[in-house]
Protein backbone atom coordinates (compact mmCIF):
# COMPACT_ATOMS: atom_id res chain seq x y z
CA UNK A 1 0.00 0.00 0.00
CA UNK A 2 1.33 3.43 -0.89
CA UNK A 3 2.23 5.85 1.89
CA UNK A 4 -0.55 8.29 0.92
CA UNK A 5 -3.22 5.55 0.83
CA UNK A 6 -2.03 4.17 4.16
CA UNK A 7 -2.27 7.58 5.86
CA UNK A 8 -5.62 8.51 4.27
CA UNK A 9 -7.30 5.24 5.25
CA UNK A 10 -5.98 5.52 8.79
CA UNK A 11 -7.29 9.07 9.06
CA UNK A 12 -10.68 7.89 7.85
CA UNK A 13 -10.73 4.96 10.28
CA UNK A 14 -9.46 7.09 13.17
CA UNK A 15 -12.06 9.79 12.57
CA UNK A 16 -14.50 7.58 14.53
CA UNK A 17 -12.66 8.55 17.70
CA UNK A 18 -13.13 12.29 17.13
CA UNK A 19 -16.85 12.92 17.54
CA UNK A 20 -17.17 16.06 15.41
CA UNK A 21 -15.05 14.69 12.56
CA UNK A 22 -16.84 11.34 12.80
CA UNK A 23 -20.20 13.08 12.47
CA UNK A 24 -19.16 15.03 9.40
CA UNK A 25 -17.49 11.95 7.87
CA UNK A 26 -20.64 9.92 8.46
CA UNK A 27 -22.80 12.67 6.94
CA UNK A 28 -20.45 12.84 3.94
CA UNK A 29 -20.63 9.09 3.30
CA UNK A 30 -24.36 8.87 4.07
CA UNK A 31 -25.16 11.93 1.92
CA UNK A 32 -23.33 10.43 -1.02
CA UNK A 33 -25.00 7.06 -0.45
CA UNK A 34 -28.47 8.65 -0.35
CA UNK A 35 -27.76 10.58 -3.55
CA UNK A 36 -26.50 7.48 -5.34
CA UNK A 37 -29.43 5.36 -4.13
CA UNK A 38 -31.95 8.05 -5.16
CA UNK A 39 -30.37 8.25 -8.60
CA UNK A 40 -30.35 4.46 -9.04
CA UNK A 41 -34.00 4.11 -8.01
CA UNK A 42 -35.14 7.09 -10.12
CA UNK A 43 -33.42 5.83 -13.24
CA UNK A 44 -34.60 2.25 -12.58
CA UNK A 45 -38.17 3.58 -12.40
CA UNK A 46 -37.78 5.49 -15.65
CA UNK A 47 -36.05 2.55 -17.31
CA UNK A 48 -38.87 0.28 -16.19
CA UNK A 49 -41.41 2.37 -18.06
CA UNK A 50 -39.14 3.22 -20.96
CA UNK A 51 -38.16 -0.40 -21.53
CA UNK A 52 -41.83 -1.22 -22.00
CA UNK A 53 -42.24 1.65 -24.43
CA UNK A 54 -39.15 0.51 -26.29
CA UNK A 55 -40.50 -3.04 -26.43
CA UNK A 56 -43.74 -1.65 -27.83
CA UNK A 57 -41.73 0.22 -30.43
CA UNK A 58 -40.07 -3.02 -31.47
CA UNK A 59 -43.35 -4.95 -31.39
CA UNK A 60 -45.61 -2.43 -33.05
CA UNK A 61 -43.41 -0.44 -35.40
CA UNK A 62 -41.87 -1.75 -38.60
CA UNK A 63 -38.20 -2.46 -38.00
CA UNK A 64 -37.23 -1.15 -41.43
CA UNK A 65 -39.05 1.15 -43.82
CA UNK A 66 -38.01 1.98 -47.37
CA UNK A 67 -39.71 4.98 -48.99
CA UNK A 68 -38.85 7.14 -52.00
CA UNK A 69 -36.68 10.21 -51.44
CA UNK A 70 -39.13 12.14 -53.62
CA UNK A 71 -42.81 11.56 -54.34
CA UNK A 72 -45.49 9.62 -52.51
CA UNK A 73 -45.12 6.26 -54.24
CA UNK A 74 -42.29 3.86 -54.91
CA UNK A 75 -41.46 3.75 -58.62
CA UNK A 76 -40.25 0.12 -58.52
CA UNK A 77 -42.07 -1.34 -55.55
CA UNK A 78 -41.41 -4.95 -56.53
CA UNK A 79 -37.63 -4.45 -56.55
CA UNK A 80 -37.76 -2.80 -53.14
CA UNK A 81 -39.84 -5.68 -51.76
CA UNK A 82 -37.39 -8.20 -53.27
CA UNK A 83 -34.35 -6.43 -51.78
CA UNK A 84 -35.94 -6.33 -48.35
CA UNK A 85 -36.88 -10.01 -48.52
CA UNK A 86 -33.31 -10.92 -49.45
CA UNK A 87 -31.86 -9.35 -46.29
CA UNK A 88 -30.78 -11.80 -43.58
CA UNK A 89 -33.13 -12.06 -40.60
CA UNK A 90 -36.16 -10.56 -42.36
CA UNK A 91 -39.40 -12.24 -41.22
CA UNK A 92 -41.99 -10.34 -43.25
CA UNK A 93 -42.19 -7.59 -45.84
CA UNK A 94 -45.42 -5.61 -46.18
CA UNK A 95 -46.43 -2.63 -48.30
CA UNK A 96 -47.41 0.57 -46.53
CA UNK A 97 -50.61 2.13 -47.81
CA UNK A 98 -52.05 5.05 -45.94
CA UNK A 99 -54.51 7.88 -46.32
CA UNK A 100 -57.28 9.89 -44.67
CA UNK A 101 -60.81 8.80 -43.97
CA UNK A 102 -63.90 9.58 -41.95
CA UNK A 103 -64.77 6.93 -39.39
CA UNK A 104 -68.21 6.43 -37.94
CA UNK A 105 -69.94 3.77 -35.94
CA UNK A 106 -72.42 1.43 -37.58
CA UNK A 107 -75.37 3.60 -36.55
CA UNK A 108 -73.61 6.68 -38.00
CA UNK A 109 -74.49 8.48 -34.77
CA UNK A 110 -70.90 9.72 -34.32
CA UNK A 111 -67.97 10.34 -36.63
CA UNK A 112 -64.33 11.29 -36.42
CA UNK A 113 -61.58 12.03 -38.98
CA UNK A 114 -58.86 9.37 -38.95
CA UNK A 115 -55.64 8.47 -40.68
CA UNK A 116 -55.63 4.85 -41.77
CA UNK A 117 -52.63 2.72 -42.60
CA UNK A 118 -52.05 -0.86 -43.54
CA UNK A 119 -50.94 -2.90 -40.53
CA UNK A 120 -47.41 -4.29 -40.50
CA UNK A 121 -48.77 -7.32 -38.61
CA UNK A 122 -51.66 -8.97 -40.47
CA UNK A 123 -54.86 -8.61 -38.41
CA UNK A 124 -56.50 -11.72 -36.94
CA UNK A 125 -59.34 -11.50 -39.50
CA UNK A 126 -59.07 -9.79 -42.93
CA UNK A 127 -61.71 -7.19 -42.10
CA UNK A 128 -60.43 -6.32 -38.66
CA UNK A 129 -59.09 -2.90 -37.66
CA UNK A 130 -57.03 -1.75 -34.72
CA UNK A 131 -58.16 1.52 -33.20
CA UNK A 132 -57.01 3.67 -30.31
CA UNK A 133 -58.86 4.11 -27.08
CA UNK A 134 -59.57 7.74 -28.05
CA UNK A 135 -61.40 6.76 -31.27
CA UNK A 136 -63.26 3.98 -29.47
CA UNK A 137 -64.44 6.49 -26.88
CA UNK A 138 -65.51 9.08 -29.46
CA UNK A 139 -67.46 6.55 -31.53
CA UNK A 140 -68.67 4.45 -28.62
CA UNK A 141 -67.05 1.33 -30.03
CA UNK A 142 -65.77 -1.84 -28.39
CA UNK A 143 -63.99 -4.90 -29.72
CA UNK A 144 -66.22 -6.73 -32.19
CA UNK A 145 -68.29 -3.67 -33.17
CA UNK A 146 -68.53 -2.56 -36.77
CA UNK A 147 -67.09 0.71 -38.00
CA UNK A 148 -67.57 2.46 -41.32
CA UNK A 149 -64.67 4.20 -43.06
CA UNK A 150 -65.28 6.75 -45.80
CA UNK A 151 -62.14 7.57 -47.78
CA UNK A 152 -61.16 11.15 -48.51
CA UNK A 153 -60.94 10.20 -52.18
CA UNK A 154 -63.93 9.31 -54.33
CA UNK A 155 -64.42 7.20 -57.41
CA UNK A 156 -66.17 8.27 -60.58
CA UNK A 157 -69.38 6.52 -61.56
CA UNK A 158 -71.93 7.08 -64.30
CA UNK A 159 -73.96 9.09 -61.85
CA UNK A 160 -71.00 11.17 -60.71
CA UNK A 161 -68.35 10.85 -57.95
CA UNK A 162 -69.15 8.32 -55.28
CA UNK A 163 -67.52 7.98 -51.87
CA UNK A 164 -65.25 4.98 -51.34
CA UNK A 165 -66.31 3.18 -48.17
CA UNK A 166 -65.30 0.12 -46.24
CA UNK A 167 -66.97 -1.64 -43.36
CA UNK A 168 -64.54 -3.05 -40.84
CA UNK A 169 -64.80 -4.83 -37.52
CA UNK A 170 -62.98 -3.47 -34.47
CA UNK A 171 -60.44 -6.22 -33.78
CA UNK A 172 -58.40 -4.43 -31.11
CA UNK A 173 -58.72 -1.32 -28.99
CA UNK A 174 -55.28 -0.14 -27.89
CA UNK A 175 -54.94 1.76 -24.63
CA UNK A 176 -52.15 3.35 -22.62
CA UNK A 177 -49.47 3.22 -25.29
CA UNK A 178 -47.18 6.17 -25.82
CA UNK A 179 -46.80 5.06 -29.42
CA UNK A 180 -50.44 5.50 -30.36
CA UNK A 181 -51.34 8.57 -32.33
CA UNK A 182 -54.87 9.49 -31.27
CA UNK A 183 -56.44 9.60 -34.76
CA UNK A 184 -54.70 6.63 -36.37
CA UNK A 185 -56.22 3.27 -37.17
CA UNK A 186 -54.67 0.13 -38.62
CA UNK A 187 -56.53 -1.84 -41.28
CA UNK A 188 -55.71 -4.83 -43.44
CA UNK A 189 -53.71 -4.34 -46.64
CA UNK A 190 -56.80 -5.09 -48.76
CA UNK A 191 -58.91 -2.49 -46.93
CA UNK A 192 -56.14 0.10 -47.17
CA UNK A 193 -55.75 -0.54 -50.92
CA UNK A 194 -59.48 -0.19 -51.38
CA UNK A 195 -59.65 3.10 -49.46
CA UNK A 196 -56.52 4.50 -51.12
CA UNK A 197 -57.49 3.33 -54.61
CA UNK A 198 -54.13 1.62 -54.99
CA UNK A 199 -54.62 -1.93 -56.25
CA UNK A 200 -50.86 -2.40 -56.61
CA UNK A 201 -47.60 -0.73 -55.63
CA UNK A 202 -47.07 1.11 -52.36
CA UNK A 203 -45.93 4.38 -50.87
CA UNK A 204 -43.31 2.45 -48.89
CA UNK A 205 -42.34 -1.06 -47.87
CA UNK A 206 -41.84 -2.17 -44.30
CA UNK A 207 -39.96 -5.16 -42.95
CA UNK A 208 -39.96 -6.95 -39.62
CA UNK A 209 -36.76 -8.56 -38.43
CA UNK A 210 -36.09 -11.54 -36.20
CA UNK A 211 -33.73 -9.30 -34.20
CA UNK A 212 -34.87 -5.65 -34.08
CA UNK A 213 -31.47 -4.65 -32.67
CA UNK A 214 -29.92 -5.68 -35.99
CA UNK A 215 -32.00 -3.04 -37.81
CA UNK A 216 -29.09 -0.62 -38.28
CA UNK A 217 -26.96 -3.20 -40.06
CA UNK A 218 -29.93 -4.32 -42.17
CA UNK A 219 -30.70 -0.68 -43.08
CA UNK A 220 -27.11 -0.13 -44.21
CA UNK A 221 -27.24 -3.30 -46.35
CA UNK A 222 -30.57 -2.27 -47.90
CA UNK A 223 -29.28 1.24 -48.59
CA UNK A 224 -26.17 -0.12 -50.34
CA UNK A 225 -28.25 -2.49 -52.54
CA UNK A 226 -30.99 -0.02 -53.43
CA UNK A 227 -28.68 2.90 -54.10
CA UNK A 228 -29.67 6.56 -54.15
CA UNK A 229 -33.29 7.69 -54.40
CA UNK A 230 -34.54 5.74 -51.39
CA UNK A 231 -34.89 6.61 -47.74
CA UNK A 232 -34.18 3.60 -45.48
CA UNK A 233 -35.23 4.13 -41.86
CA UNK A 234 -35.02 1.88 -38.81
CA UNK A 235 -37.57 1.63 -36.02
CA UNK A 236 -35.36 3.94 -33.95
CA UNK A 237 -35.52 6.65 -36.61
CA UNK A 238 -39.24 6.13 -37.21
CA UNK A 239 -39.80 6.79 -33.50
CA UNK A 240 -37.09 9.43 -33.32
CA UNK A 241 -39.07 12.16 -31.55
CA UNK A 242 -40.35 9.75 -28.91
CA UNK A 243 -36.91 8.20 -28.40
CA UNK A 244 -35.45 11.70 -28.02
CA UNK A 245 -38.15 12.61 -25.49
CA UNK A 246 -37.34 9.47 -23.49
CA UNK A 247 -33.62 10.26 -23.51
CA UNK A 248 -34.32 13.86 -22.55
CA UNK A 249 -36.58 12.74 -19.72
CA UNK A 250 -33.87 10.48 -18.37
CA UNK A 251 -31.20 13.17 -18.67
CA UNK A 252 -33.37 15.71 -16.83
CA UNK A 253 -34.14 13.26 -14.02
CA UNK A 254 -30.45 12.35 -13.78
CA UNK A 255 -29.39 15.99 -13.52
CA UNK A 256 -32.12 16.85 -11.02
CA UNK A 257 -31.52 13.93 -8.66
CA UNK A 258 -27.75 14.31 -9.08
CA UNK A 259 -28.08 17.58 -7.16
CA UNK A 260 -28.31 15.44 -4.02
CA UNK A 261 -24.84 14.11 -4.84
CA UNK A 262 -23.55 17.64 -5.36
CA UNK A 263 -24.88 18.65 -1.94
CA UNK A 264 -23.17 15.58 -0.47
CA UNK A 265 -19.98 16.73 -2.20
CA UNK A 266 -20.11 19.98 -0.23
CA UNK A 267 -20.10 17.89 2.94
CA UNK A 268 -17.04 16.08 1.65
CA UNK A 269 -15.30 19.43 1.09
CA UNK A 270 -16.11 20.40 4.69
CA UNK A 271 -14.97 17.04 6.04
CA UNK A 272 -11.63 17.08 4.25
CA UNK A 273 -11.02 20.76 4.98
CA UNK A 274 -11.61 20.04 8.66
CA UNK A 275 -9.17 17.13 8.55
CA UNK A 276 -6.57 19.34 6.85
CA UNK A 277 -6.89 21.92 9.66
CA UNK A 278 -6.84 19.21 12.34
CA UNK A 279 -3.83 17.50 10.84
CA UNK A 280 -1.86 20.62 10.05
CA UNK A 281 0.92 19.56 12.41
CA UNK A 282 1.06 16.09 10.81
CA UNK A 283 1.52 17.74 7.43
CA UNK A 284 4.49 19.67 8.80
CA UNK A 285 5.95 16.47 10.28
CA UNK A 286 5.44 14.54 7.03
CA UNK A 287 7.21 17.37 5.23
CA UNK A 288 10.13 17.18 7.66
CA UNK A 289 10.36 13.45 6.85
CA UNK A 290 10.60 14.18 3.14
CA UNK A 291 7.01 14.08 1.89
CA UNK A 292 6.63 16.31 -1.17
CA UNK A 293 3.74 18.79 -1.56
CA UNK A 294 2.30 16.46 -4.22
CA UNK A 295 2.39 13.59 -1.76
CA UNK A 296 0.47 15.63 0.85
CA UNK A 297 -2.09 16.52 -1.81
CA UNK A 298 -2.50 12.85 -2.69
CA UNK A 299 -3.25 11.97 0.95
CA UNK A 300 -6.37 14.14 0.88
CA UNK A 301 -7.34 13.16 -2.65
CA UNK A 302 -7.18 9.55 -1.47
CA UNK A 303 -9.32 10.48 1.52
CA UNK A 304 -11.91 11.96 -0.87
CA UNK A 305 -11.67 8.86 -3.04
CA UNK A 306 -12.15 6.60 -0.01
CA UNK A 307 -15.27 8.53 1.04
CA UNK A 308 -16.40 8.35 -2.58
CA UNK A 309 -15.93 4.58 -2.74
CA UNK A 310 -17.70 4.00 0.59
CA UNK A 311 -20.63 6.30 -0.18
CA UNK A 312 -20.99 5.07 -3.75
CA UNK A 313 -20.81 1.40 -2.75
CA UNK A 314 -23.38 1.85 0.04
CA UNK A 315 -25.68 3.82 -2.28
CA UNK A 316 -25.41 1.29 -5.09
CA UNK A 317 -26.05 -1.59 -2.73
CA UNK A 318 -29.16 0.07 -1.32
CA UNK A 319 -30.44 1.54 -4.59
CA UNK A 320 -29.95 -1.58 -6.70
CA UNK A 321 -31.30 -3.81 -3.92
CA UNK A 322 -34.39 -1.65 -3.48
CA UNK A 323 -35.05 -1.44 -7.23
CA UNK A 324 -34.72 -5.20 -7.69
CA UNK A 325 -37.02 -5.81 -4.70
CA UNK A 326 -39.61 -3.33 -6.02
CA UNK A 327 -39.64 -5.13 -9.36
CA UNK A 328 -39.44 -8.66 -7.96
CA UNK A 329 -42.20 -8.28 -5.37
CA UNK A 330 -44.28 -5.74 -7.37
CA UNK A 331 -44.53 -3.52 -4.33
CA UNK A 332 -46.04 -0.46 -6.04
CA UNK A 333 -49.38 -1.42 -7.69
CA UNK A 334 -51.01 0.35 -10.67
CA UNK A 335 -54.64 0.27 -11.87
CA UNK A 336 -54.11 -2.17 -14.74
CA UNK A 337 -57.21 -1.05 -16.68
CA UNK A 338 -55.62 2.39 -17.10
CA UNK A 339 -51.95 1.54 -17.54
CA UNK A 340 -52.04 -2.03 -18.89
CA UNK A 341 -49.55 -2.74 -16.08
CA UNK A 342 -50.28 -4.26 -12.71
CA UNK A 343 -47.35 -2.60 -10.97
CA UNK A 344 -44.79 0.16 -11.37
CA UNK A 345 -41.93 -1.46 -13.28
CA UNK A 346 -38.29 -1.03 -12.26
CA UNK A 347 -35.37 -2.02 -14.47
CA UNK A 348 -31.74 -1.77 -13.39
CA UNK A 349 -29.44 -1.20 -16.36
CA UNK A 350 -25.79 -2.04 -15.60
CA UNK A 351 -24.60 0.76 -17.89
CA UNK A 352 -26.60 3.36 -15.99
CA UNK A 353 -25.43 1.98 -12.64
CA UNK A 354 -21.84 2.26 -13.86
CA UNK A 355 -22.49 5.85 -14.99
CA UNK A 356 -23.96 6.77 -11.59
CA UNK A 357 -21.04 5.11 -9.79
CA UNK A 358 -18.51 6.96 -11.94
CA UNK A 359 -20.33 10.28 -11.49
CA UNK A 360 -20.57 9.90 -7.69
CA UNK A 361 -16.96 8.78 -7.33
CA UNK A 362 -15.59 11.55 -9.53
CA UNK A 363 -17.71 14.15 -7.72
CA UNK A 364 -16.31 12.99 -4.36
CA UNK A 365 -12.81 13.10 -5.80
CA UNK A 366 -13.39 16.59 -7.22
CA UNK A 367 -14.69 17.71 -3.82
CA UNK A 368 -11.33 16.75 -2.33
CA UNK A 369 -9.28 18.77 -4.81
CA UNK A 370 -9.56 22.18 -3.16
CA UNK A 371 -8.73 21.13 0.42
CA UNK A 372 -6.01 18.79 -0.89
CA UNK A 373 -4.37 21.67 -2.76
CA UNK A 374 -4.62 23.79 0.37
CA UNK A 375 -2.80 21.01 2.27
CA UNK A 376 -0.05 20.96 -0.34
CA UNK A 377 0.41 24.74 -0.07
CA UNK A 378 0.66 24.72 3.73
CA UNK A 379 3.90 26.18 5.10
CA UNK A 380 5.33 23.19 7.00
CA UNK A 381 7.62 25.21 9.27
CA UNK A 382 4.71 27.34 10.40
CA UNK A 383 2.54 24.25 10.92
CA UNK A 384 5.14 22.81 13.29
CA UNK A 385 5.91 26.12 14.98
CA UNK A 386 2.25 26.89 15.71
CA UNK A 387 1.39 23.41 16.95
CA UNK A 388 3.56 23.46 20.06
Amino acid sequence: MRFETFVALRYLAASRRRAHVALIATISVAGLAVGVAALVVSLALLSGFQDRIRRQMMDRTAHLRVSPQRGARLADAERVAAVLKSLPGVLRVTPLIEGRAWASNAAASAGVPVRYRSASEPPAAPGDAGITGAIAARLGLATGDEMRLVSSRSRLSPIGPLPVTALVRVGEVRRGSALDKPGEIEVSEATARLLAGAPSGAGAYEARLADPLAADAAARAAGRTLGAGYRVETWRELNGPLAFALRLEKAVIFLTVALVILVAALNIVANIALTVVEKKRDLGVFTSMGASPGSLERIYLTLGAAIGVLGTAAGLLFGVGLSLALERYRIVPLPSDVYLLSHVPFAVHPGEVALIAAFAFLTALAAAVLPARAAARLAPGEAIRLSR
Binding site: F6, T287, S288, G290, A291, P380
Partner: protein, 231 residues
Protein backbone atom coordinates in the same frame (compact mmCIF):
# COMPACT_ATOMS: atom_id res chain seq x y z
CA UNK B 1 34.69 20.42 5.21
CA UNK B 2 31.46 22.24 6.11
CA UNK B 3 28.30 20.20 6.56
CA UNK B 4 26.27 23.37 6.99
CA UNK B 5 27.04 26.73 5.50
CA UNK B 6 24.40 29.44 5.91
CA UNK B 7 25.15 32.95 4.64
CA UNK B 8 23.28 36.19 5.33
CA UNK B 9 20.00 34.53 6.20
CA UNK B 10 16.97 36.73 6.79
CA UNK B 11 13.56 35.61 7.83
CA UNK B 12 10.42 37.65 8.51
CA UNK B 13 7.05 36.16 9.43
CA UNK B 14 4.10 37.93 7.88
CA UNK B 15 0.89 36.70 9.39
CA UNK B 16 -1.84 38.54 11.18
CA UNK B 17 -0.63 41.85 12.57
CA UNK B 18 2.69 43.50 11.90
CA UNK B 19 5.50 41.52 10.22
CA UNK B 20 8.01 40.03 12.67
CA UNK B 21 11.64 39.91 11.59
CA UNK B 22 13.19 36.90 13.31
CA UNK B 23 16.75 37.51 12.15
CA UNK B 24 18.59 39.31 9.43
CA UNK B 25 22.05 38.77 7.90
CA UNK B 26 22.70 35.64 9.95
CA UNK B 27 25.61 33.39 8.97
CA UNK B 28 26.38 30.00 10.42
CA UNK B 29 28.78 27.18 9.64
CA UNK B 30 29.21 23.71 11.10
CA UNK B 31 31.86 21.22 10.09
CA UNK B 32 31.06 17.66 9.10
CA UNK B 33 30.80 15.22 12.00
CA UNK B 34 30.37 17.94 14.62
CA UNK B 35 27.87 17.71 17.45
CA UNK B 36 26.91 21.36 17.78
CA UNK B 37 24.68 22.96 20.39
CA UNK B 38 22.79 26.19 19.79
CA UNK B 39 21.71 28.15 22.84
CA UNK B 40 19.96 31.45 23.18
CA UNK B 41 16.93 33.16 24.65
CA UNK B 42 13.45 32.30 23.44
CA UNK B 43 12.27 34.12 20.32
CA UNK B 44 15.66 34.71 18.69
CA UNK B 45 14.83 32.21 15.92
CA UNK B 46 16.63 29.01 16.91
CA UNK B 47 13.80 26.80 15.67
CA UNK B 48 13.43 28.91 12.54
CA UNK B 49 17.15 28.47 11.88
CA UNK B 50 16.79 24.67 12.12
CA UNK B 51 13.80 24.77 9.76
CA UNK B 52 15.85 26.76 7.24
CA UNK B 53 18.82 24.39 7.59
CA UNK B 54 16.51 21.39 7.03
CA UNK B 55 14.73 22.99 4.08
CA UNK B 56 11.23 22.83 5.58
CA UNK B 57 11.12 26.62 5.53
CA UNK B 58 12.80 29.06 3.16
CA UNK B 59 14.75 32.21 3.95
CA UNK B 60 13.62 35.58 2.61
CA UNK B 61 17.24 36.25 1.72
CA UNK B 62 20.56 34.45 1.97
CA UNK B 63 21.82 31.03 1.02
CA UNK B 64 21.83 27.66 2.77
CA UNK B 65 24.28 24.97 1.70
CA UNK B 66 23.82 21.62 3.40
CA UNK B 67 26.15 18.68 2.75
CA UNK B 68 27.37 20.44 -0.38
CA UNK B 69 23.89 21.11 -1.82
CA UNK B 70 22.38 24.57 -2.24
CA UNK B 71 18.84 24.19 -0.86
CA UNK B 72 17.57 27.32 -2.60
CA UNK B 73 18.58 25.96 -5.99
CA UNK B 74 16.44 22.85 -5.53
CA UNK B 75 12.84 22.31 -6.64
CA UNK B 76 10.36 21.56 -3.83
CA UNK B 77 10.35 17.92 -4.95
CA UNK B 78 14.16 17.68 -4.86
CA UNK B 79 14.23 19.40 -1.46
CA UNK B 80 11.71 16.84 -0.18
CA UNK B 81 13.86 13.97 -1.46
CA UNK B 82 16.95 15.59 0.05
CA UNK B 83 15.23 15.84 3.47
CA UNK B 84 14.11 12.24 3.22
CA UNK B 85 17.60 10.94 2.42
CA UNK B 86 19.96 13.33 4.19
CA UNK B 87 18.22 15.12 7.07
CA UNK B 88 16.53 13.93 10.28
CA UNK B 89 14.39 16.16 12.49
CA UNK B 90 13.65 15.80 16.19
CA UNK B 91 11.15 18.25 17.69
CA UNK B 92 10.64 19.38 21.28
CA UNK B 93 7.15 17.88 21.47
CA UNK B 94 8.19 14.67 19.67
CA UNK B 95 5.31 15.21 17.19
CA UNK B 96 4.60 11.51 16.86
CA UNK B 97 1.44 10.90 14.86
CA UNK B 98 -1.17 9.66 17.32
CA UNK B 99 -3.17 7.56 14.83
CA UNK B 100 -0.14 5.36 14.22
CA UNK B 101 1.92 2.95 16.32
CA UNK B 102 5.52 3.61 17.30
CA UNK B 103 6.73 1.23 14.60
CA UNK B 104 4.55 2.87 11.94
CA UNK B 105 5.85 6.28 12.99
CA UNK B 106 9.44 5.13 12.60
CA UNK B 107 8.65 3.42 9.29
CA UNK B 108 7.22 6.60 7.74
CA UNK B 109 10.46 7.99 6.25
CA UNK B 110 11.01 4.65 4.52
CA UNK B 111 7.44 4.53 3.25
CA UNK B 112 7.71 8.08 1.94
CA UNK B 113 10.84 6.93 0.08
CA UNK B 114 8.82 4.10 -1.46
CA UNK B 115 10.32 1.24 0.54
CA UNK B 116 7.82 -1.67 0.61
CA UNK B 117 5.72 -1.83 3.78
CA UNK B 118 7.15 -5.07 5.13
CA UNK B 119 10.75 -3.96 4.62
CA UNK B 120 10.02 -0.54 6.15
CA UNK B 121 8.47 -2.16 9.22
CA UNK B 122 11.40 -4.56 9.59
CA UNK B 123 13.87 -1.69 9.54
CA UNK B 124 11.76 0.36 11.95
CA UNK B 125 11.51 -2.57 14.35
CA UNK B 126 15.29 -3.07 14.28
CA UNK B 127 15.87 0.61 14.97
CA UNK B 128 13.41 0.60 17.87
CA UNK B 129 15.28 -2.38 19.31
CA UNK B 130 18.55 -0.46 18.92
CA UNK B 131 17.25 2.44 21.01
CA UNK B 132 15.92 0.14 23.70
CA UNK B 133 12.27 -0.01 22.73
CA UNK B 134 12.04 -3.56 21.45
CA UNK B 135 8.53 -4.86 21.98
CA UNK B 136 7.05 -1.35 22.10
CA UNK B 137 6.53 -1.05 18.35
CA UNK B 138 2.84 -1.93 18.47
CA UNK B 139 2.08 0.70 21.08
CA UNK B 140 0.33 3.87 20.07
CA UNK B 141 2.22 7.10 20.63
CA UNK B 142 -0.03 8.03 23.55
CA UNK B 143 0.74 4.77 25.35
CA UNK B 144 4.44 5.69 25.67
CA UNK B 145 6.08 7.81 28.37
CA UNK B 146 7.54 11.22 27.49
CA UNK B 147 11.08 9.83 27.30
CA UNK B 148 9.95 6.88 25.19
CA UNK B 149 8.04 9.16 22.86
CA UNK B 150 11.15 11.26 22.30
CA UNK B 151 13.25 8.12 21.72
CA UNK B 152 10.76 7.00 19.08
CA UNK B 153 10.98 10.48 17.54
CA UNK B 154 14.79 10.11 17.43
CA UNK B 155 14.42 6.68 15.81
CA UNK B 156 12.07 8.19 13.22
CA UNK B 157 14.58 10.97 12.50
CA UNK B 158 17.36 8.40 12.00
CA UNK B 159 15.29 5.91 10.02
CA UNK B 160 16.90 6.78 6.68
CA UNK B 161 20.39 6.98 8.17
CA UNK B 162 20.70 10.74 7.54
CA UNK B 163 23.98 12.64 7.42
CA UNK B 164 22.49 15.58 9.31
CA UNK B 165 20.39 15.47 12.47
CA UNK B 166 18.58 18.64 13.55
CA UNK B 167 17.13 18.45 17.07
CA UNK B 168 14.97 21.29 18.35
CA UNK B 169 15.02 21.23 22.18
CA UNK B 170 14.71 17.44 22.21
CA UNK B 171 14.89 17.37 26.01
CA UNK B 172 12.92 20.53 26.69
CA UNK B 173 9.78 18.71 27.65
CA UNK B 174 11.34 15.98 29.78
CA UNK B 175 12.37 15.61 33.42
CA UNK B 176 16.08 15.68 34.22
CA UNK B 177 16.62 11.91 34.14
CA UNK B 178 14.71 11.39 30.92
CA UNK B 179 16.44 14.41 29.38
CA UNK B 180 19.85 12.95 30.23
CA UNK B 181 18.84 9.60 28.74
CA UNK B 182 17.59 11.15 25.51
CA UNK B 183 20.66 13.35 25.15
CA UNK B 184 22.97 10.39 25.81
CA UNK B 185 21.16 8.51 23.08
CA UNK B 186 21.61 11.39 20.63
CA UNK B 187 25.34 11.59 21.45
CA UNK B 188 25.75 7.85 21.14
CA UNK B 189 23.97 7.66 17.78
CA UNK B 190 25.86 10.74 16.57
CA UNK B 191 29.19 9.01 17.23
CA UNK B 192 27.99 5.65 15.95
CA UNK B 193 26.69 6.99 12.64
CA UNK B 194 29.21 9.73 12.00
CA UNK B 195 26.49 12.34 11.49
CA UNK B 196 26.60 16.08 11.82
CA UNK B 197 24.19 17.03 14.59
CA UNK B 198 22.80 20.42 15.58
CA UNK B 199 20.92 20.49 18.89
CA UNK B 200 19.01 23.53 20.07
CA UNK B 201 18.86 23.46 23.86
CA UNK B 202 18.33 25.65 26.89
CA UNK B 203 20.23 23.22 29.11
CA UNK B 204 23.84 24.43 29.62
CA UNK B 205 24.93 21.08 31.07
CA UNK B 206 23.85 19.23 27.96
CA UNK B 207 25.30 21.94 25.71
CA UNK B 208 28.61 21.59 27.49
CA UNK B 209 28.76 17.95 26.40
CA UNK B 210 28.68 18.93 22.72
CA UNK B 211 31.66 19.43 20.44
CA UNK B 212 30.79 23.05 19.75
CA UNK B 213 28.49 25.61 21.26
CA UNK B 214 26.90 28.46 19.37
CA UNK B 215 25.09 31.27 21.11
CA UNK B 216 22.29 32.94 19.26
CA UNK B 217 20.99 36.40 20.05
CA UNK B 218 19.19 39.25 18.30
CA UNK B 219 22.58 40.29 16.90
CA UNK B 220 23.27 36.92 15.27
CA UNK B 221 24.91 33.60 16.08
CA UNK B 222 28.46 33.24 17.36
CA UNK B 223 30.61 30.33 18.46
CA UNK B 224 31.09 30.35 22.20
CA UNK B 225 34.64 30.55 23.41
CA UNK B 226 33.77 28.24 26.30
CA UNK B 227 34.13 25.08 24.21
CA UNK B 228 37.07 23.94 22.11
CA UNK B 229 36.32 23.25 18.45
CA UNK B 230 36.86 19.67 17.39
CA UNK B 231 36.27 17.61 14.27
Amino acid sequence: MSAIKAENLSKTYTGEGAPVTVFSGLSFEVREGTLAAVMGPSGVGKSTLLHLLGGIDRPDAGRVEVLGSDLEAMTPRDRARFRNEKVGFVFQFHHLLPEFTAEENVAFPHRIAGVPEREARRKASALLARIGLAGRGDHGARALSGGEQQRVAIARALARDPKLLLADEPTGNLDAAAARGVFDLIRELHRERGMTTVVVTHNPDLAARCDRLFVMSREGILPSSGLPERG
